[in-house]
Amino acid sequence: MSITLSEAESRRVVAGHGVPVSPFVTGTSTDEVIAAANADSTVVYPVVAKLCGRAIAHKTERGLVKLRLADEAALRSACDDLFAAARPDDGDVEVLVSTMVDGNRELIAGLNDDPQFGLTIMLGVGGILAEAIRDVVFRLVPITEVDAGEMIDDLATQRLLEEFRGEPAVDRQALVEALVALAEVGEQEAGVRSIDLNPMILVDGKPVAVDALIEIDAAEASR
């Protein structure tokens, strides 16, 4: 059995290992969220607000993602709505607020516990089309920086990584470091079954995860 950590929990874990995620704060009430957002200068408007909880699987389908909130008033109103939308069976919930980052290119990265080879790391061309495009490469965890660089080289869609529609080429070193950090999560955190960073948006060529989900063994989750 496994359980999936909330996006807020997942972000805290991966960010703790140096995986780049879009700037975010969390809170368990509207006032707490507003205070946290005001206190963190990296969280800048427009922001996105999401209701997070381990039992909440389909945030978008339930309208629990509020996009393009332009100012504090809009954020406050969104937080009120989100907390009001929580159901008793959602369990503990919190609202996550993060800066909306800009970029036309989306990658996907993740970990998966493979039945034959154990924990693997993946890099792919991502976003909602990832499973249709299937341009993905895997390695076994742990990886070195050389392995991470070869993962980037092995993607079929190399043009996406070059200069693209006025955006700079991908910052290879930043992407290498993000992959090595992601692999480190799998090595150092107990019971990781899978991680999705989808999408990782290329912002000025640097990868920034704007969503994160970690699936771990239930036994580890209850510790």
Partner: protein, 487 residues
Amino acid sequence: MTNYDLSTLFDPKGIIITGVSNHPGKFGFVTLHNLLVSGYEGNIFPVGREPSEALGRPVLGSIDEVPDGAADMIFICTPQAINEDLLRAAAAKGVTAAFFAAAGYREAGPEGVEAEQRLVALADELGVAVAGPNGQGVVSTPSKMCAQIVAPYAPAGRIAIASQSGNFVSSFLNLSHHTGVGISRAVAAGNAAVLGIADYVEWFADDPETDVCLVYMESVDNGREMFDRLRAVAERKPVVVVKGGASDAGARAAASHTGALASDDAVFDGMCRQAGLIRARDVEEAFETAATIATQPLPKGDRVVVVTTVGGWGVAAVDAMAGSRLEATPLPDDLYAAIDEKLPPRWSKNNPIDMAGGETRDTVPEIMELAAAHPDVDAVLFLGLGIQSNTAAMMREGEFYPDHGLERIVNFHERQDARYAEAAAEISQRTGTPVLLATELANARPDNAGPAAAHAAGQMCHSSAGRAIRSLDLMARYSNWRRSRGL
């Protein structure tokens, strides 16, 4: 690392064969026949149910009659039920390796599974390295040994084969005959009850007779351990892998996007890239790549110069480089100038070097040499081998031969093509730059003097530019894998 020493499996000083009768359809007989025909020079002790004679050799009625210490390997073709006793008797005589061609083990249901478990325990108890069961045999050219229940044997060379499918051992050996590029060892893992692919490949890594390992696999039982072990081998010797069952049955149920994208093939491919395993798409490509590695230096980089006698083949070669890591490098100025001196003005003035029929007696070897010796060229591909001899063949076979000066020109053409093949081999060895050959004549007319000379020299001649480029690309990848890791 296995605790078993495989030396006596591949280089035994004497072999006991069980299940030998004078019936030429039986596996024991065939194995005896193949060992004798391959020229095995050690002791051979055929053993049957009762004393008799086969192929002019006495067949012993019991392993007890084998002199102590005269055999160190046993080849078992007898029914499963009696094999444990035979292995004990053989071990008492000094046998330390066994090939179990016998079936009736894991592949044969619950009783067979138990028999296989007992076999594993017995191997451990006796300290005998057990290959198989349910395998077709073992070949070792340094010992002139074809211990197989099927054909063929193969020419001697530097490729060592371990296969989870016996049929593909035969396929590889047939390709060895076809290309002239020989093998050192070949073993069918069978059920791999005791010894598996990694055990064989680790032994090949230490084997002075082997330069490249060639592996066919279908199942991966202990993926992480296999990865670690094969990677350690790849750091020392190239390992070419072809995997059967590579196409995934379909998306699996997974909670995560990453899991949904993790097809067996994608994960296996990533494992190979990380471990430095040279993964080929099919059996032919696997053999051809191993054969090229066995007979050529590795390219030091990705820059290829194509030398051709006509335009179209060069175009095909460059097309084949699309999607590979190879590039048809622009000709460096000094190389351009040196080539320009050798060719009439109509040559292509570019890479591919299309000589446009402007070559005279020594031009082809000279241009191959110039390109291969240049520090900014990592590999050379020569297209057009055999074209003169192809013309010569029609002359030789026509009604006007040998008159009208035909004999002289036929001999000249054939000498030229043989020279080109020999020059390619010699230049690659001397310069350290691979010089590959490709012509469909290698398949269509293997008697053509060009491919025939390559074959006689044990040098790989590909059957198309695309196939040569594919082998070269896989070599360049491996070379890059090594360089990136300071190896």
